[in-house]
């Protein structure tokens, strides 16, 4: 028999478990980014903020195929993009109406080198709003060498990426250097299109963009491709008809198994049991699972969740770590859900961290 009365015991239990509440820092950051930082976004940062942002910028070079080379500018300095404030622009020819305008840095970066403060970087304003991606990052993928009339224009995909590496929205520009100043020549895919860019390829007077078509809730619906071409020297671009590369993998076409392993880890494996390819990207939804790119059980070493095109019979796997001993498991477990929201037939354990789907059966890449 307990020495305490039930109400006393209850107070003790509630107090004890209240310490398992999540740390407040991330939530505070997201709340402020969603609220007061929106008001402040129109303010110009001071020089110290600008220098810090530039110095913190890192560069990851990705081979995206085609003639061009895409450079991924990872703005590590913007833990909260909406609170970063706009960057001074020498030529605010575009996007200046948007109070959330953050500007994009399009320095001619040598591969793998960081961007030093005081370099030849030129800032071009963009009108990408990442207000709905609190705590995330802004990434710029740049495709060089669209040569038009002797000039070198560049195609840039500006993307909002959530803190767990999921692309939430994108827009695509052609950027031109005019009289030594880079400006946006044309916005070929606006943010309102509801897409998320996966890759850029091309060169000469045309380029193609592969992107995820996103549902209203942000879940991927399909992988699509579109080609843009100019016939007037880059003054305008015409897009081709959209080609659907693959529909999103949904629960009904996947065979799923969830296996417990040594150390309490889990592997959720799915196999495309349909006769056509499907696209899978993101995290499964597991009870208690905090979505992180990688952990002891597996995951990805990339900075973004992989976009997997699963051929018929192909396998993808998401790994998860066990719940910490002191962490409670919800009394009613939730079903495993795919990134598109469809539920798998198997139930789920409570997990600590869950990682994105990666190709193959190991759960890591």
């Amino acid at each position: 028999m307990s020495r305490n009365s039930l109400p006393d015991e209850l107070r003790s239990v509630l107090l004890q478990h209240s310490f398992d509440a999540p740390d407040a820092d991330d939530t505070i950051t997201r709340i402020l980014a969603d609220t007061v930082s929106q008001q402040l976004a129109g303010r110009r940062p001071n020089h110290r903020q600008l220098a810090a942002g530039l110095t913190a910028a890192a560069v990851i070079v990705l081979g995206l195929g085609g003639v061009g080379i895409a450079k991924l500018h990872h703005d590590a300095g913007s833990a909260s993009s909406a609170s970063r404030g706009s960057v001074n622009s020498p030529a605010p020819a575009f996007g200046s109406q948007d109070h959330n305008n953050k500007g994009m840095n399009l320095a001619p970066l040598p591969g793998g080198q960081g961007l030093a403060s005081g370099s030849t970087s030129i800032v071009v304003p963009d009108n990408l709003s990442c207000a709905t991606t609190p705590g995330g990052k802004r990434l710029y993928t740049q495709l060089d060498d669209i040569r038009l009339n002797g000039q070198t224009d560049q195609v840039v995909a500006a993307q909002c990426v959530s803190a767990n590496g999921v692309r939430t929205s994108s827009q695509v520009y052609v950027v031109a250097e005019v009289s030594g100043i880079r400006t946006i020549r044309a916005t070929v895919i606006p943010q309102s299109a509801g897409i998320s860019v996966v890759s850029l390829a091309g060169g000469s007077d045309q380029f193609s963009v592969e992107y995820l078509r996103l549902a209203t809730a942000g879940a991927p619906e399909s992988l699509q491709r579109q080609t843009f071409r100019t016939t007037d020297g880059g003054a305008s671009y015409q897009g081709s008809a959209t080609e659907t590369v693959a529909q999103a993998c949904r629960a009904k076409i996947l065979a799923a198994s969830l296996a417990g392993e040594a150390g309490g880890r889990y592997r959720l494996q799915v196999r495309n049991s349909s006769g056509s390819a499907c696209v899978l990207t993101g995290y499964p939804s597991l009870a208690g699972g905090t979505q992180t790119l990688r952990g002891p059980a597996g995951g990805t070493r990339a900075e973004l969740v992989p976009v997997l095109t699963l051929a018929p019979g192909a396998v993808a796997t998401a790994a998860a770590e066990p719940l910490a001993p002191h962490q409670p498991c919800p009394a009613v477990a939730k079903p495993v859900r795919l990134p598109d929201g469809s539920a798998l037939s198997a139930g789920a354990p409570c997990v600590g961290q869950v990682h994105p789907f990666v190709a193959g059966s190991s759960g890591s890449d």
């Binding site: 028999m1 307990s2 039930l6 209850l10 478990h17 505070i28 969603d34 009613v332 139930g347």
Partner: protein, 198 residues
């Protein structure tokens, strides 16, 4: 941005920094899920932000916000579809079964109480958290839940009865004074907050 808005923003930011940790504790005890708790607190404060002058005008600002968090929890839960798929860790297999009491009764009494809290209805759990974690009197719990004091006592009485079935406590047999009061109150509809005898 005008001065009133700026002042409200500064007050809001100060409030968020000072009280988010406490609100997360409440939200976690309500939702029992760290991610859901974060979303609940974030959603509530973002919703309150354009109405922040109402919060500033409130006598007890944290209580005002806590009420918003609790109500949004209850409103959100009503919208969510219930799912009853459970995981049996001893078998490493997955079975579907109807909702029922959690099977944690063999662990220890405190774990059993925590597990049983999860099987309470959302309103019952909200009443218990407000009453026993925040030590709010019944009438203040009633204000938060927008119900009568008698309803609060009924919610808590049923909750304690369910929890009592999970263990043995020092007040077993004689019954705690709270439980006696609740039981008598339920029977006679007397309002104990006014000092009427049990």
């Amino acid at each position: 941005m005008g001065k009133p808005r700026r002042a409200a923003d500064e007050h809001f930011a100060e409030f968020v920094r000072a009280n988010t940790a406490a609100l997360l504790k409440t939200a976690y005890l309500l939702t029992r899920d760290p991610v859901d708790a974060e979303e609940l607190v974030q959603d509530s404060l973002v919703w309150l932000y354009p109405r922040w002058q109402q919060v500033q005008a409130a006598e007890h600002q944290l209580a005002y916000v806590r009420k918003a968090v609790t109500n949004r929890f209850l409103a959100g839960k009503r919208r969510m579809a219930a799912s009853e798929i459970r995981f049996d860790p001893t078998l490493q297999t997955f079975t579907e079964q109807p909702a029922g009491p959690d099977e944690a009764g063999e662990v220890d009494e405190r774990m059993a109480i925590w597990a049983e809290l999860g099987s309470l209805s959302d309103r019952q759990r909200a009443a218990v958290v407000l009453r026993f974690f925040h030590d709010l009197p019944d009438d203040e719990v009633a204000q938060v839940l927008d119900c009568r004091v008698g309803t609060v006592r009924s919610l808590i009485s049923r909750s304690l009865s369910a929890l009592r079935a999970r263990g043995t406590f020092a007040d077993d047999g004689a019954g705690s004074s709270y439980l006696r009061n609740v039981t008598n109150s339920d029977a006679s509809q007397r309002d104990l907050s006014k000092g009427e005898p049990a």
